[in-house]
Symmetry: C2
Subunit: 354 residues, 2 copies
Amino acid sequence: MRIAVDAMGGDHAPQEIVRGAIDYASSSTDEVILVGDSARLEREIAAYGKGHPPNVRVVHAQDVIEMGDHPATALRAKPRASIVVATDLVRDEAADAVISAGSTGATMAAAVFRLGRIKGIDRPALPAHMLTPTGPVMLLDVGANVDSDAENLVQYAAMGAIFAEHVLHVESPRVGLLNIGAEVEKGDSLAREAHEKLADAGIRFVGNVEAHDMIDHRADVVVCDGFVGNVVIKFFEGITSFIFRALREDLQQGPIAPLALLALRPGFDRMKARFDYERYGGAPLLGVRGVSIVTHGRAKARMIENAIRVGSEAARAGVPDLIAEWTREHPALAHRGVRSRIAARLHRERTRTA
Amino acid sequence: MRIAVDAMGGDHAPQEIVRGAIDYASSSTDEVILVGDSARLEREIAAYGKGHPPNVRVVHAQDVIEMGDHPATALRAKPRASIVVATDLVRDEAADAVISAGSTGATMAAAVFRLGRIKGIDRPALPAHMLTPTGPVMLLDVGANVDSDAENLVQYAAMGAIFAEHVLHVESPRVGLLNIGAEVEKGDSLAREAHEKLADAGIRFVGNVEAHDMIDHRADVVVCDGFVGNVVIKFFEGITSFIFRALREDLQQGPIAPLALLALRPGFDRMKARFDYERYGGAPLLGVRGVSIVTHGRAKARMIENAIRVGSEAARAGVPDLIAEWTREHPALAHRGVRSRIAARLHRERTRTA
């Protein structure tokens, strides 16, 4: 596999991106293509002191899309930005996957506009991994797919199930519908309509899942509208960081606290390992014609290395082809007639101007 | 003030309910009316050993609505249930507020059907208190008001602001709209429409608030559709209990862990105090013609005592009258023409049969 990496995106770019890429390449036969300011990348490679592995290649890109830039506008204004050049390598079949720790909006916009949507998928979706004691739960969409309709939710479900099975290696993944009650008739009009359609989607649909059920790992894949998913994931980040900050403040007071905390260090390390997001590397933008992995802006070398691994596995499994196959097998849920095509176009236009 | 308490509702009823009521009455001039099986309540009062305060009265009700009962059905089947009798005391002006730790659905249904809605309020809303380092944030609706429209959200905002100002004593409460971005144009169609109308609602609207902003206390009142609010609150309960359970498990391992944990006890107590929900007592069902306070099913005496205090303060402040006044001052946002009245009736009917 050939993995294009946007070496200029993310809080710790390019240093940590370069390091993650070299670490990955050193233990893999894949080719890693670092895309960005080539002079600077060569300097970072040299500075890391692990040599220049033969399977690490540098492709020059003169521009960078910054976090503050408006995604769609920046995409037009900077056609030579690293994320665009890296994505175009996938479009031109010179790479099998693209990875970025840069602006999520720009990475998604580049994938949607440069790779295009898979036929039958109205809206590409972005999942997030929620960690539970027994494994991750994929929640999608957490991107910006607001005002989803029932078919959108069914498509998220199918795409999430394909990724969970073929990349996360979950056998026959259980798919749930995020809802406010366990009973079939519960929820808003979207949830009630989606519930019916999910039963015929060729997936293992386990019914409604409440928010706390996710933490109990009642399903492997959970679908919801992007508004709800985005609220949940931002709330999750906010509340966990608040709790750990509060713990630190509250426990560090008093004369013997430092000693007691030292004694509990192994316990805190076990706790930290439970919330180890880095091992999941990143999340795939599902529904575009190619593999595009979005990783965290704060990603350091280890997480970048894992994100490249996820991209490689998704490309090897042929996730976009599997999704396309699902759309062909479920024409009623995938292709949605004139009204839906108009809705999809309006959505595209809104995405462009938003 | 005369406060009717459903003495039979909740996991620890009637014992803890009776205790909370006696504790409240001992330090207040309010009258507390315990509603339930009178013989049993008299026994509990005697068993508590603090005497029978003159301002605690018992009103007999022979039935109880159980947690598993369907709210609307149970309401019809058990007209002599404690929650119905207690709510009717408010309707008949024999009490100024009603408190229940029983089924939230039954308490809400009793309030809606026995007290009725305030004119101009289409849907009564239930808030939840989210604790932050600097004070609580009221999130509403977390009840079951799904498929809200923009006017509903504006009404939640006005009702939440009135409660925050007059009962929580927050001066000029900041009201935010839960959204997935800070910019005006962000969000789904509901959020974008509500954003416009909130500016003219006679409240201190501070704009969009993201989920993590709630934890940073960027607003005192945050409004959202009941589907989103219900998901957030259930997720919050799930994630906090998971983190604390995990901490216990992870920290208790190893020979010196018990001693170290003992040394950190004051720190853990400080942490526990941050998550002390009991002090807020309960949440008001806003928009009905009377004061109805829903408290937690697991509430013990201290929380019941606080819930009675909240009910007394809300009644003294005249919260329902203040809401009615707001609807008269904002006819465009409150009274919504024929189409809306039909929608409200359909919602009522769905609530009845759901």
